[in-house]
């Protein structure tokens, strides 16, 4: 067993973990933070995306011991202390950027990381920036609309999709 100290959503935790425990297991099973989903379990789908020191990572392909000392944010940690939605969550809500919702936590966390890294984002940038996240409902158009809304893109939302078809 290895002692791991992490900060998750602003709180410090310390646990003895088996070295082979994946970060996603630690978050879900040890801390009970089940907002982070397991989808493909092969680092393809992005459902398990969390922020590790501010950057998006797939928590199914990270050992909990590798995250020792890191600051982690999961979907549960995005909203304000008063429960107000994070701007990206709010945009997903406003633009109906979810259908079944399974990919949503990972999609939101990937979008938060993308928006933090990129100064300017157009539709193509959003689509490429979210290439690590799959939506099994194929509800991509509204997801892209939501992220573009956060990026301050002033392109009429009705045009979203046409450029994406050309870019793909």
């Amino acid at each position: 067993m290895v002692l791991v100290t992490v900060e998750v959503n602003g709180s410090s935790y310390q646990h003895e973990v088996e070295p082979r425990m994946l970060l996603v297991q630690y978050l879900r099973e040890t801390l009970g933070l089940t907002g982070t989903n397991i989808g493909c379990d092969t680092s393809s789908c992005g459902a398990c995306t969390v922020l590790l020191n501010g950057e998006s990572v797939k928590s199914c392909t990270l050992l909990a011991v590798q995250a020792d000392g890191a600051a982690i944010v999961t979907i549960e940690g995005l909203s304000g202390p008063d429960g107000a939605l994070h701007p990206v969550q709010e945009a997903f809500h406003q633009h109906h950027a979810l259908q079944c919702g399974y990919c949503t936590p990972g999609m939101v966390m990937a979008a938060v990381s993308l928006l933090a890294e990129e100064g300017e984002l157009d539709e193509r940038g959003v689509r490429e920036g979210l290439e690590g996240n799959l939506c099994r409902c194929t509800g991509y158009h509204n997801i892209v609309r939501a992220v573009l809304a956060c990026a301050g893109d002033r392109a009429p939302v009705g045009e979203v999709g046409a450029a994406g078809a050309a870019a793909s």
Binding site: V2, E18, P19, R20, M21, L22, Q25, D41, T42, S43, S44, G46, T49, L52, E55, S56, V57, K58, T61, L62, L63, V65, Q66, A110, S113, L114, E117, E128, G129, E131, G132, N133
Partner: protein, 273 residues
């Protein structure tokens, strides 16, 4: 999917990592970002009994100018490469290739040293380093030695690294004004290349192929044709010479040979334009 049980040790320096490899022998495996190794361990295709974590070794993430070369610490991540101002200016092929790897989450974790040491012929960055004629620096019990990228890839997932060596640095020649191209053909976002081509035209022409054999390959027949003044189309026709591409669910070997000629032609056209 959970990996088989293993003992975890964290190395604080390259020297300590080497000592741990010497101590544990073949049972040990190095891990940095883990994005090549962990998927294999989860599938139990790799079952190391000791995992030596070098991900926190300080001072191995640099990307810096050193004379006519750019020196890159083995722990520099794909994200570091794709966003490095010095790399974008001096070796744009490498920065652009890094941007093509996986997806943003993968690029936040995967390292240049890791992808080279893993030696997967379907990976993008090994071909770019090969096309550039890079130099790899390995640290072992008897100190450091340099290995040419041309000598580094030995077989499927096999490299010239000894079982007790750690890849610590990668150096590539500066190529600021050189023509370059990275062509990657795949069918879905974030997929591996079905075939890829890295090309740099810098006085001499270096071309390397992704997924056209058991290792990343230099397209020497194409390079010779270019040297002897052949047209782009004629030179590209030699792209599959000396290759042994796999047949799999994505493409037949024959299709890959055809793709290589198409992508090499595009790469030469782009690098020469």
């Amino acid at each position: 999917m959970i990996p088989a049980a293993f003992e975890y040790v964290r190395a604080e320096s390259a020297e300590e990592a080497v000592a741990l490899l010497v101590e544990h022998g073949d049972d040990a495996k190095l891990i940095a970002g883990g994005h090549s190794l962990l998927p294999l361990m989860k599938l139990r295709l790799a079952t190391p009994t000791v995992l030596v974590d070098i991900g926190r070794v300080p001072g191995l993430s640099y990307i810096e100018e050193r004379g006519d070369e750019i020196a890159i610490g083995a722990l520099a991540r794909h994200h570091d490469l794709e966003t490095s101002a010095v790399l974008k200016e001096q070796v744009p092929l490498l920065a652009a290739t890094a941007h093509q790897v996986g997806d943003p989450q993968v690029r936040h974790r995967g390292t240049l040293g890791g992808t080279l040491a893993h030696g997967d012929p379907a990976s993008d960055l090994p071909a770019a380093v090969l096309a550039l004629g890079g130099t790899l620096v390995a640290q072992g019990p008897n100190g450091r030695r340099e290995i040419s990228a041309l000598e580094f890839f030995r077989g499927f997932l096999e490299t010239a690294l000894g079982a007790d060596e750690v890849l610590v640095e990668i150096r590539v020649p500066k190529a600021a004004g050189a023509g370059w191209s990275f062509q990657k053909f795949n069918r879905r976002a974030q997929d591996w290349a079905i075939v890829g081509v890295a090309a740099v035209v810098n006085g001499t022409t270096g071309i390397a192929l992704v997924n056209m054999g058991s290792t990343p390959l230099r397209a020497t027949a194409v390079e010779e044709a270019v040297r002897s003044g052949a047209s782009v189309t004629d030179a590209a026709a030699a792209a599959s010479q000396g290759t042994d591409p796999p047949s799999d669910v994505n493409a037949s070997s024959e299709y890959r040979r055809h793709l290589a000629t198409v992508l090499v032609r595009r790469a030469l056209e782009e690098a020469s334009s």
